[in-house]
C-alpha cells in the first residue's frame, strides 16, 4: 500500500497535511494541539475536558444555539475534545461546506466566550453523567484500575472527566485561565476528502494560520509514572447489579518505545486474534464465563496501561482471575507459537486497507504518523516493522510489562464479591 499526501506549514507553525480523496463527498478535518488533561491542576481534575467542551458553547460571533444551528443545518459535525496529552478538533461535512467548518473551528479556537449560563448547563450534565458512572460497573472498574496503577498523584491516575468533588468547584476564571494553554506551536491539522490541497492550504493559512496568541505555549511534560511495586486489589461494591466487571494489568509501553511493536503483536495474540485471543479463548470460549474478555494495549504519548478486562457473573470472578493470571504466566514463561506469530502478523498487516477505507481512517493514520514521527513512508514500511517482530521479542515485552504477581486488579460489581 502507498499513501501520498501534501504537507504545508502555516505561518504560525501549525503543520497541515492534506490528502485528496475524490471518491467520497465528505471532508474530514482533524486537528491536534499540545496539552490536555495532563495540564489539569490536581484539585481541578476535569478542567481540560470542561474547557474544551465549552469551546463550542459560545464564541464572540455565535451562541451555542447558533453554532448548533449552523453546523446541523448542513448535516455536519464539529467537536472539540481532549485526551490526556492533546486537545482535538474535528469536523466532518460535505465538501461544499468545508469553508464553513473552517470558519467555525477557527472561531472556537480563537474567540470562545465561556458564557456563565453554558458553564452551569454543562456542569449539570457532567454531574449527572458522573452519577451515572457511579452506577456503572465497567466505568468504576476502569476508574479504580487507573487510580491504583498510577496513584492520584500522577495525571494518568486521575479521571480526566473530573469527579463529583472537582466539577462543582470549576469557575469561569479557571476556564479562562486554562484556555491560555491553547497554542498553535506543534499543532497538526489533517484534512482528507473531496478537496484540492492548495485550496485547503490557502483557506487555512488565511484563517487558522493567523492565530498567534500573545502567551507562550504550555509546558506539557509530565513525570514518568512510578513503577508498580506490589500487587494491588480494589473492590468497588455496587448494589443492584447482576454482573461484575474486572480489569487487571500493568503499565505498558509508550507508542515510541522500541519494544512497542513486540508488545503490539503480542497483545494481538494475547487478547484479540479470533474471539479475544488466548484470553477470550479460555475465559469465554472454553469456560463460558464471560460474554467479553479481551485485552487493551493503549500505547500513546506516555506509558498507558496494558490490561485485560472482562465482565463476569459475581460467582465466577475468582475463577476468571485465576484463568487470566495463568495466561499471563504462560505468556511470560513460554514463547508464543510460530503459528500464532504468523497469524498475528498477517492480521495486522492485512487489515490496513480496511483501516484506510474511509476519510476518517486515513486522517487518523496521518495524525499518528506525524504525532509519533513515524515517517512519510510509514505505510510502506509497516509490514516490515510488524514482520520483524520475533517470538523472543514478544516474550521479552511480556516480561517487561506484564506480571502475574505484581499487577493491579480492579473489580466493580454486586455485594457478593469477595474482597
Amino acid at each position: 500500500m502507498d499513501l501520498t499526501f501534501q504537507t504545508y506549514t502555516l505561518s504560525n507553525g501549525i503543520t497541515l497535511i492534506v490528502k485528496e480523496n475524490h471518491h467520497a463527498q465528505s471532508v474530514v478535518i482533524r486537528g491536534r494541539l499540545r496539552g490536555g488533561a495532563n495540564l489539569d491542576p490536581v484539585e481541578k481534575t476535569g478542567l481540560a475536558s470542561f474547557t474544551t467542551s465549552l469551546i463550542r458553547r459560545g464564541t464572540s460571533q455565535r451562541t451555542f444555539a447558533q453554532i448548533n444551528d449552523t453546523v446541523e443545518s448542513v448535516g455536519a459535525a464539529l467537536h472539540f475534545s481532549c485526551g490526556r496529552h492533546l486537545t482535538t478538533v474535528s469536523s466532518k461535512s460535505l465538501a461544499e461546506d468545508f469553508d464553513l467548518m473552517v470558519e467555525l473551528m477557527v472561531e472556537g479556537l480563537t474567540s470562545p466566550t465561556f458564557p456563565p449560563a453554558e458553564i452551569e448547563r454543562l456542569r449539570g450534565q457532567l454531574i449527572t453523567g458522573l452519577r451515572e458512572m457511579q452506577e456503572s460497573t465497567r466505568g468504576l472498574a476502569q476508574r479504580y484500575f487507573r487510580e491504583n496503577l498510577y496513584t492520584l498523584e500522577h495525571p494518568y491516575g486521575r479521571p480526566f472527566n473530573g469527579t463529583l468533588e472537582s466539577v462543582p468547584t470549576i469557575t469561569q476564571a479557571d476556564v479562562f485561565a486554562f484556555y491560555q494553554n491553547f497554542h498553535p506551536q506543534d499543532g497538526i491539522f489533517v484534512v482528507v476528502g473531496d478537496i484540492e490541497p492548495d485550496t485547503v492550504y490557502q483557506s487555512l493559512e488565511a484563517t487558522l494560520g493567523q492565530w498567534l496568541p500573545p502567551h507562550n505555549p504550555p509546558d506539557t511534560s509530565i513525570p514518568a509514572p512510578y513503577p508498580l511495586e506490589a500487587a494491588k486489589r480494589h473492590v468497588e461494591v455496587i448494589a443492584n447489579k447482576t454482573q461484575a466487571d474486572l480489569m487487571l494489568g500493568n503499565i505498558g509501553p509508550k507508542r515510541t518505545d522500541d519494544d512497542f511493536y513486540a508488545a503490539y503483536v503480542g497483545d494481538t495474540i494475547l487478547g484479540h486474534l479470533g474471539l479475544g485471543g488466548r484470553i477470550g479463548q479460555v475465559v469465554r470460549d472454553r469456560e463460558g464465563l464471560a460474554y467479553y474478555a479481551r485485552t487493551s494495549l493503549m500505547g500513546g504519548i506516555g506509558a498507558d496501561p496494558w490490561c485485560i478486562y472482562a465482565g463476569v457473573n459475581p460467582v465466577n470472578v475468582e475463577k476468571a482471575i485465576d484463568l487470566i493470571l495463568a495466561e499471563i504466566r504462560r505468556f511470560r514463561d513460554e514463547t508464543v507459537t510460530d503459528q500464532e506469530l504468523a497469524d498475528a502478523q498477517s492480521y495486522l498487516t492485512g487489515i490496513l486497507p480496511l483501516q484506510m477505507e474511509t476519510n476518517e481512517g486515513v486522517a487518523n493514520m496521518l495524525l499518528q504518523m506525524h504525532l509519533y514521527q513515524l515517517g512519510d513512508d510509514f505505510i510502506s514500511r509497516y509490514p516490515t516493522l510488524i514482520n520483524a517482530v520475533t517470538k523472543t521479542d514478544i516474550q521479552t515485552a511480556a516480561r517487561t510489562y506484564l506480571s502475574d504477581e505484581t499487577y493491579v486488579l480492579s473489580i466493580a460489581g454486586p455485594v457478593s464479591l469477595p474482597s
Binding site: E72, Q125, L289, G350, I351
Partner: protein
C-alpha cells in the same frame, strides 16, 4: 443511495437471493448473508433462540472447526461479526478484495453444516446469560425490557432479542438445531456483496459454493397481530440508583406502510436525522425543550422501520435535581406542539440536508452499503429507500401534523419511568 444499473439482483435455483454491487474505490469487499429470522419468529418459552443460534454459527462446521472462522478471517486481514435483531439475523466479513473467497466458503458452509455440538451449547449458555447480565446492569436497558413487554401483549416484538433469562436456562440443543434447520437455508436467505469485485467471477463462485445447498420447506409465517391499544399503559421501575430514565413508546406503522417517510421526518424534527454518521440533535426540538432547559441531559426520538408494525420511541435521562414528571410534562408539550403547529419550511429543509449528508458519509464504506441493502431487503425490498431523500422531501408539514395526531395519542402509548430509590 444504490443505483439500480450497477446492482446484480438474481436468484439461484434453490431460492438464494443474491445482490452484487461492484464498487472499486478501495481494495475492499464486504460479504453479507442475511436470514429472515429474529425475535419476531420466536415462540413463548423459546425467546432468545435466534440470537443463540447466531452464536452457534461461530462454533464450528466439519470444514471450519470451532474457533477457525474468526481466526481464518483475521489471518486474512479481515473482520467479521454477526448480529440478531427482531426481524433478521445477519453475518458479515469485510476483507481485502482478493480474499472474498474465504468469506463465501465460510458462509456457504455454515448455511447448512453448523454442528451444534452439545458441549458447545452448554458453554455458550453461560456466555449468553453473561451477555444478558451485562445488559441488566444498565438501568435504561432494564426499563426498556419492561416497557416493550407492556406495550406488546401479543406480538413477539414485546421481548428483547436476547430473550428472557428463564428461557435461556431452558432452551435445549435440539431446540437450537431445529430452529437452525427451519430458518437457515438458501430459501430464507439473501447474500449481499459490495466492493471491489469482478461480477462474473463472483457469480460463478456463488453458484459453485451455494448452488448445491438444498432448499428447505418455507418457514412458518408470523401471523400474530398486536390488538389496538385501548388506553395508556405505564411502567414504574423503582430501584437503587442515582439517575432517572424516561421512555415512551407509541405503536407505529410497518416499513411497507405509506406513512413510513412521514414518521422518519417526524423523528428528525424531534431529534435530527439519524442515518448514521454525525449527530444532529442539538438544534432539534427535544434538545431545545428538554436539555437546554436543564430538565434532562439527553432526549431523543427514534423510529426504526420494521416488518410488522413497530413503535415510535422517546427516551431520555433526567438531570440530577429534576424529576421524571417534569421531563414527561416538557416532552408532552413538545408532542402537543407538533400536533398543533405546522413545522416550518426551514426545519424541513434542514432535515433533508442532514439526511443527504448522513447518507453520503455512511455510503463511504462498502460494508455500510451492503448493510443498507440487506436491511431493506429484510424489511421487504432493497429498493425501498432508493429515492429516500426525494421521498422525505415530498412529505409536507401537514402530513407530519396528521401523523403526529394519528400515532402520538396517549391511548396508544406505554410510558416507562426508572425512578432511583
Amino acid at each position: 443511495m444504490v443505483s439500480h444499473d450497477v446492482v446484480n439482483d438474481y436468484k439461484l435455483d434453490n431460492g438464494l437471493q443474491v445482490l452484487l454491487k461492484p464498487v472499486h474505490t478501495a481494495p475492499v469487499v464486504s460479504n453479507w448473508v442475511w436470514y429472515r429470522v429474529g425475535g419476531r419468529n420466536e415462540q413463548i418459552g423459546k425467546t432468545g433462540i435466534s440470537h443463540w443460534v447466531e452464536h452457534m454459527m461461530f462454533k464450528g462446521t466439519p470444514n471450519f472447526p470451532k474457533g477457525r472462522i474468526m481466526l481464518e478471517i483475521n489471518r486474512n486481514g479481515g473482520v467479521l461479526n454477526g448480529f440478531t435483531s427482531q426481524d433478521y439475523t445477519a453475518y458479515f466479513e469485510t476483507l481485502p478484495a482478493d480474499r472474498l473467497d474465504l468469506g463465501l466458503r465460510i458462509e456457504s458452509d455454515r448455511m447448512a453444516n453448523s454442528l451444534f455440538d452439545p458441549d458447545e451449547v452448554t458453554s455458550e449458555r453461560t456466555v449468553i446469560i453473561s451477555e444478558r447480565e451485562g445488559h441488566e446492569n444498565n438501568p435504561a436497558w432494564a426499563l426498556n425490557e419492561e416497557v416493550k413487554a407492556t406495550a406488546f401483549h401479543v406480538h413477539p416484538y414485546g421481548h428483547m432479542v436476547i430473550g428472557w433469562k428463564d428461557d435461556l436456562h431452558n432452551i435445549t440443543r435440539d431446540d437450537l438445531y431445529n430452529h437452525y434447520k427451519m430458518y437457515y437455508g438458501p430459501h430464507n436467505a439473501v447474500l449481499v456483496i459490495v466492493g471491489d469485485i469482478d461480477v462474473d467471477r463472483v457469480r460463478d463462485r456463488i453458484e459453485e459454493l451455494f448452488g448445491s445447498i438444498p432448499a428447505g420447506p418455507p418457514p412458518p409465517s408470523v401471523t400474530l397481530r398486536e390488538p389496538t391499544q385501548q388506553s395508556e399503559r405505564r411502567v414504574l421501575m423503582r430501584k437503587p440508583g442515582q439517575t432517572g430514565y424516561f421512555q415512551a413508546v407509541y405503536h407505529a406503522c410497518e416499513a411497507s406502510h405509506s406513512d413510513v417517510f412521514t414518521l422518519l421526518m417526524l423523528e428528525s424534527v424531534f431529534s435530527g436525522a439519524s442515518f448514521g454518521g454525525s449527530s444532529t440533535h442539538r438544534s432539534a426540538r427535544l434538545y431545545r425543550a428538554l436539555v437546554e432547559t436543564e430538565i434532562g441531559v439527553d432526549a431523543s426520538a427514534s423510529y426504526h422501520p420494521s416488518i410488522d408494525p413497530g413503535t415510535f420511541n422517546f427516551d431520555g435521562t433526567v438531570r440530577h435535581g429534576h424529576t421524571l414528571a417534569e421531563f414527561e410534562a416538557a416532552l408532552d408539550s413538545e408532542i402537543e406542539r407538533v400536533k398543533e403547529e405546522l413545522v416550518s419550511p426551514a426545519e424541513l429543509e434542514k432535515v433533508i440536508k442532514q439526511t443527504r449528508a448522513q447518507l453520503a458519509y455512511s455510503m463511504e464504506r462498502v460494508s455500510n452499503q451492503a448493510r443498507w441493502m440487506g436491511w431493506l431487503e429484510m424489511l421487504g425490498d432493497w429498493r425501498r429507500f432508493d429515492n429516500l431523500v426525494d421521498n422525505l422531501a415530498a412529505v409536507t408539514a401537514e402530513d407530519i401534523r396528521q401523523a403526529a395526531r394519528k400515532y402520538l395519542r396517549s391511548s396508544n402509548r406505554t410510558v416507562g419511568w426508572f425512578e432511583p430509590a
